[in-house]
């Protein structure tokens, strides 16, 4: 548990500066995350939106230093309460993970060990941080209570729980040591919409009770607008726009953001023809020249294929990287 005195007033909890991650492939390096910067303040929910190849999941793994080979962090800093995670030793990382920053993965079945009872998996995390015995078991019961599973199910195997319950179990494991920052990587994508709503409401309640911050990664923009304080839109490894959630929804600026918004039919109001975005996600080994979105952009100009746009601040907290501005 993080000492509250360490979080100084006015400083971000998480400060990512010019992060670069590459995957080494036979065809050449894939620039999965290319000079990404953003901040997250204590108590906030920051949403990271993007599709396949945007780099959002790569960022999640990079923050916890759990990127598999052939991925390599090739630049930047990840400052967590002022300390650079990228400089931490293995020993420091072992303490850091779970107690200061933890993660909920997309498919709970990928995150849970199928041959261990859930209780053991919770206790495993606690034991790695010196918590054992009765105190650990009591905490396990309390955690299940918090996420809305009856504690009797602690002794079940993952396959004996429904999809929604498994995801709640994974959330319980992530909250075991009450970390100040929870990363959620598409936590509800594999779940039905009713279960999804249920779990998200639970997370909101938990966030208020336990006071943690969330980095919420998903392709579902409508979910982010409901759930986040700020949203950053990623395309081909870069952040193309970032703004407070409501502001982004009401005044989207980047053509990609507009295209994304144009990809979600509504369940109420007037029925309009939507177009989505033509074309396919870009090749990240040889990304398009200039602005990476230009081949698919309905408003592309000649400069867009020649020079990469510079990020500009449009208004309070609203930034965009586009030659239109």
């Amino acid at each position: 548990m993080l000492d509250p005195g360490v979080i100084q007033k006015g400083l971000p909890l998480l400060d990512i500066r010019h992060l670069k991650v590459e995957y080494l492939t036979p065809r050449g390096p894939v620039h999965a995350v290319d000079d990404v910067s953003f901040t997250l303040y204590s108590g906030e929910v920051v949403g990271l939106a993007g599709e396949s190849g945007s780099g959002k999941s790569t960022i999640a793994h990079a923050l916890l230093r759990i990127l598999p080979a052939p991925a390599l962090i090739t630049g930047g800093q990840v400052l967590f309460t002022g300390r650079d995670v990228l400089e931490m030793s293995e020993a420091e990382l072992e303490q850091f993970r779970w107690s200061e920053m933890s993660i909920v993965f997309q498919s709970a079945m990928n995150a849970l060990n199928p041959v261990m009872r859930i209780r053991e998996q919770l206790l495993d995390v606690m034991q790695a941080h010196g918590l054992t015995g009765d105190e650990a078991n009591q905490r396990a019961v309390r955690l299940f209570d918090l996420v809305g599973i009856e504690p009797g199910r602690l002794d079940a195997y993952p396959h004996q729980l429904s999809g929604g319950m498994r995801q709640r179990a994974v959330i319980a494991i992530a909250l075991t040591l009450a970390p100040p920052l929870l990363i959620m990587d598409e936590p509800t994508t594999a779940l039905d919409v009713v279960v999804q709503k249920d779990i998200l409401q639970q997370i909101v309640r938990l966030k208020e009770e336990l006071d943690f911050s969330i980095l919420f990664i998903t392709h579902d923009l409508s979910l982010l607008v409901e759930f986040s304080d700020h949203i950053a839109i990623m395309y081909a490894g870069e952040i193309v726009e970032k703004a407070p959630a409501r502001e982004l929804f009401e005044r989207p600026l980047h053509p990609y953001t507009l295209g994304l918004m144009n990809s979600f039919p509504s369940i109420s109001g007037e029925k309009k023809q939507l177009t989505g975005i033509p074309g396919s996600p870009p090749d990240l080994v040889q990304p398009p020249s200039g602005c990476r979105f230009h081949p698919r952009c309905p408003q592309a100009m000649s400069i867009c294929s020649q020079a990469a746009p510079v990020t500009k601040t449009i208004s309070a907290n609203h930034i965009v990287a586009c030659h239109l501005f």
Binding site: S162, V193, Q201, L223, V225, E226, F264, S268, T275, I277
Partner: protein, 353 residues
């Protein structure tokens, strides 16, 4: 170009015989499927679908909406004749195909009823080119004259689904295409034989968000221009509304509500439909806090279920009757029916808004 797809031939099929102008294209009646599970001594049954009835008219898009375990995929597989029904009738062009072709679907049926699957990669054969995938149905259903004619048909199909340049795409293998492109190949393959009905099992849920609308618009276009009917399965109510003329809602193997799609969205009658609607994230509605329409708990087991309405265990308005008897289908309005005891004959006026 679309004319070359030869849709004029559709009416001249053995199965079209019994049809009058009012006959629905597809008329499913009391369809039931139970899967046996368990050992020798006492076999239990998963009631995957129970007493499901609905129709699809020519050129209509019917969206079948439900969550995991609702029975929507089983329903579509029964209509595709991939599995055998336990009970019920499937009338296609007015004839019960479960009686006229009990063991296996005829070639004629398979030409008129095509299917698109959820996973665009596994529904294509990785070792064959796009050209092969499109040639095969044309050859099997004897719709080609010679090699040159076949190739031209294939190029026309690829163009129609927006895959250009067609000759170049035709030479590619599935792994050389993006997810959206593969799904377009799957659609082209289904279109190749000029079907009357396309069964689409969550065709966009595995695609990137920005690609989905392109595929949905393609489906809508073929409905408008070629008069193809669709049975479109999804768990996403928003896309059901976007493309569906009619929406059918399934829960735990039962069809609980159905009707014209705007009517269902505006006036959902069944408590489950209301729950489903309230759960969809809708940024247009603004940030929403906890809804009163809620239901704790999860979908009940489908194995040897108790009598009564399957939603009774979660419904905030369940009555004793609900746990005993499955409600019959009642009309809320001419284009809107529901299976719920809240709409007993004396309660029709109190439609929940």
């Amino acid at each position: 170009m679309i004319e070359t797809l030869n849709f004029a031939n559709r009416a001249n099929t053995p199965l079209a015989g019994a049809q009058s102008p009012d006959t629905p294209l597809l008329d499913v009646r009391h369809l039931t499927k139970h899967f046996p599970v368990g050992g020798f001594v006492k076999t239990r049954h998963v009631h995957a679908i129970e007493d499901v009835s609905f129709t699809v008219e020519s050129g209509q898009v019917v969206a079948l909406v439900g969550e995991s375990g609702s029975g929507k995929s089983t329903t579509i597989r029964l209509i595709a004749r991939l599995i055998q029904a336990t009970a019920g009738e499937i009338l296609f062009h007015g004839q019960d195909i479960l009686k006229t072709e009990p063991k296996k679907a005829s070639l004629a049926y398979r030409r008129q009823v095509q299917m698109i699957f959820q996973d665009p990669f596994s529904s294509l054969n990785a070792v064959y080119t796009v050209e092969h995938h499109l040639a095969r149905p044309l050859i099997v259903h004897k719709l080609t004259k010679d090699r040159q004619h076949l190739q031209q048909r294939i190029y026309d199909l690829l163009s129609t689904v927006g895959l250009n340049p067609a000759p170049e795409i035709a030479r590619r293998f599935p792994h050389q295409l993006s997810g959206g492109q593969r799904q377009r190949v799957a659609i082209a393959r289904a279109l190749a034989v000029s079907p009357d009905l396309i069964l689409a099992d969550e065709p966009i849920s595995m695609l990137d968000v920005s690609i989905r609308m392109g595929i949905l618009n393609l489906i809508a276009r073929f409905k408008e221009e070629l008069g193809i009917a669709y049975l479109y399965i999804t768990h996403d109510l928003a896309s059901a509304r976007y493309i569906g003329d009619k929406i059918l809602v399934m829960y735990a193997g039962h069809m609980v509500e159905g009707g014209e799609s705007e009517e269902i969205m505006a006036h959902p009658a069944h408590p489950y439909t209301q729950l489903l609607l309230s759960a969809v994230p809708d940024p247009h509605a603004g940030l929403r806090t906890n809804q009163e329409i809620g239901a704790r708990g999860e979908v009940p087991s489908l194995i040897d279920p108790p009598p009564g309405c399957p939603f009774a265990t979660r419904c905030t308005r369940a009555m004793e009757l609900c746990r005993q008897v499955m409600p019959a289908s009642l009309h809320v309005s001419p284009d809107h029916w529901v299976r719920c005891h809240l709409f007993g004959p004396q309660k029709i006026e109190e439609v929940i808004r």
